[in-house]
């Protein structure tokens, strides 16, 4: 299935949604959502076993977006998959909308956990993955965390626990875009040697260049053994603001949310012309 997924077109579609949502709502994290797009497209097109008609189907794979501020990308993908009507996207953060600035369980079909406070998603995911073992219900749990998010100590508490419980059905995907709010990750709180840290915590570690989403798809569909005794972790090398040359690695875009009509148009034109991934 992965060899036919058109990540370029899907990426354009999601980024266009993100810009349109932000343009209408006047809020939202554009760059944090942009870096996530290919991770989500790979998961939702090639990997996750889901049932949009029954979002709580007990056999489904669980997905948690722990870096909840990237929710715009998730909302676009969930709407595309049919969890809810696309109209909801344009009511983002509005008084009577269901889609807030961070995703909420019980409000948004397809959202497994309310996130936004960083450092919770991995532990929630460990609980869900443990439940799969207790119930002998072989679903898998995927969690995306941000690189800045792994500043939180609870990330490493969860890592110890996932390893202790030999959760082969537990997969962490790090959106390693190398920037956090204030500055480069390497300046704020250096994470390197990042892969070594996770390996030493007992994870089966992979790295994926997200300019080539098919690599991540291969890892998740072919390389990983979900019956393994080690939890898995993929360092996804992404680019903050990915998809448009002038938003890439540009911190001005981390919080930028007020878009003038001409900016919206310029962004959408750039997305359609430049596209991502390369």
């Amino acid at each position: 299935m992965s060899n036919i997924t058109d990540y370029t077109s899907l990426g354009k579609e999601v980024r266009k949604d993100i810009v349109e949502i932000v343009s209408r709502a006047g809020r939202g994290h554009i760059a944090s959502a942009f870096s996530l797009v290919e991770i989500l497209n790979v998961l939702y097109e090639d990997v996750l076993k889901i049932n949009t008609k029954d979002p709580l189907d007990p056999t489904r794979d669980r997905y948690i977006l722990s870096k909840g501020h990237g929710c715009l990308a998730l909302y676009s993908v969930l709407a595309r998959k049919g969890y809810f009507k696309k109209d909801h996207l344009y009511k983002f953060c509005s008084f009577d909308g269901i889609l807030g600035g961070h995703p909420e369980r019980d409000r948004v079909p397809g959202v497994e956990a309310s996130t936004g406070s960083l450092g919770h998603g991995m532990s929630l995911g460990v609980g869900m993955a443990l439940n799969s073992k207790i119930d002998k219900n072989p679903y898998r749990v995927f969690v995306t965390i941000g690189d800045g998010e792994s500043n939180e100590g609870s990330t490493w508490e969860a890592a110890l626990s996932a390893s202790k419980h030999k959760l082969g059905n537990f997969v962490v995907l790090i959106d390693y875009n190398k920037y956090q709010s204030y500055d480069k990750v390497s300046e704020v709180l250096n994470l390197e040697p990042y892969a070594d840290k996770w390996t030493s915590f007992g994870f089966d570690v992979h790295e994926a260049d997200m300019d080539h989403p098919e690599i991540l798809s291969q890892i998740l569909t072919k390389k990983i053994n979900y019956n393994d005794e080690k939890p898995h972790l993929i360092i996804c090398h992404t680019i903050k603001g990915k998809g448009i040359s002038f938003t890439e690695n540009n911190l001005d875009w981390h919080h930028k949310s007020r878009l003038k009509p001409e900016e919206t148009k310029a962004l959408i034109d750039a997305i359609m012309n430049e596209g991502a991934p390369s």
């Binding site: 609980g127 439940n131 073992k133």
Partner: protein, 313 residues
């Protein structure tokens, strides 16, 4: 009380496969039977409260009833954000069992004193806060929690506390228990202090004063019906609690009073002060330091009786 609490968790786990137990780093031998009988539902997760609470929530979101146990200060404060988001917001069926509520760990000093656990836990939307009076009531509380929806915080007292509760009292979450019917003065109490309140009432009755005693084992949701009944029938209400003056039982009662449209009445309280106790000693030593020994409660109540009786002359 802690022992009975955990034994009851084991009991309900025997009949209910969805019951899970998670400890942090509890004493050797804790719930060995549970571990032996249900190894896949018993977890000792290490000193990592933030992770433990979220992991418990992850299990609860999948349909499990998860009982988590460690020291009260750590299970409330260290992971407060997790308590708010993964328990309160998620309405997950996680039950936090906090050992050493109030001043139980007096000899260990301020780091281990849970003097504001009631305040902070009751500030979380959807959180239920239970403060049983004795081991027997704790057993009933844990049993009641089995079929209850939403997160719960149990404040656990020292153990060996004198028993006041009776089986015929039953235990319904959110419903207070009247030990002495409301009089001109009524004491509203929680936890182990209810026993002292009853003793005070009996002593004053022998001296010709009618003092009601109402036990609120559930601080949240507050039994507003019962409290309004007391406001209606009493001229003075004295709340006593092993929690600071900020945000505990007396605050809850005073909050309700602001919505009270009936005749005005006197509200008084005895509570821990807004400070870190500068003393060690025993739980009882510090309770006495804050006038929460039986004698001080008696004096305060007697004074209120005299005041109310003077007014009605």
């Amino acid at each position: 009380m802690r022992k009975r609490c955990l034994e009851t968790v084991y009991k309900i786990a025997k009949e209910d496969k969805s019951v899970i137990f998670i400890g942090s780093d509890l004493g050797k031998g804790t719930l060995d039977e549970f571990k032996e009988d249900f190894p896949d539902r018993f977890f000792m997760e290490g000193i990592s409260e933030q992770h433990v609470v979220s992991m418990a929530a992850g299990l609860a979101l999948e349909g499990k009833k998860v009982y988590v146990n460690t020291i009260a200060t750590f299970i409330t404060r260290r992971c407060f954000d997790q308590n708010v988001i993964d328990l309160g917001l998620a309405k997950s069926n996680v039950r936090l069992i906090g050992n050493g509520g109030g001043l139980v760990y007096a000899p260990l000093g301020p780091t281990h004193l849970a003097i504001e656990d009631i305040s902070i836990m009751r500030s979380i939307p959807n959180m239920t806060v239970l403060v049983p009076s004795d081991a027997d009531e704790m057993e009933r509380a844990v049993k009641a929690s089995q079929s209850y929806e939403g997160p719960i915080y149990f404040r656990v007292a020292k153990g060996g506390d004198p028993v006041i509760s009776h089986p015929e009292n039953g235990f319904e979450i959110g419903k207070g228990i009247t030990y002495r019917p409301p009089g001109p003065v009524t004491i509203v109490s929680t936890g182990i202090l209810t026993k002292r309140a009853a003793e005070v009432s009996d002593r004053l009755k022998a001296e010709g004063h009618e003092v009601g005693v109402v036990h609120l084992h559930t601080i949240k949701p507050l039994d507003t019906k019962l409290l309004k009944n007391i406001f209606d029938r009493s001229k003075a209400v004295l709340t006593i609690e092993e929690n600071t003056t900020i945000g505990g039982l007396s605050s809850a009662v005073a909050d309700l009073y602001t919505e009270w449209d009936g005749d005005p009445l006197i509200l008084k309280r005895i509570a821990l002060r807004d400070e870190f106790p500068e003393k060690y000693g025993s739980q009882n030593d510090i309770l006495k330091h804050y006038d929460l020994d039986t004698e001080s409660i008696y004096e305060k109540t007697k004074g209120l009786c005299a005041k109310v009786e003077r007014k009605s002359l």
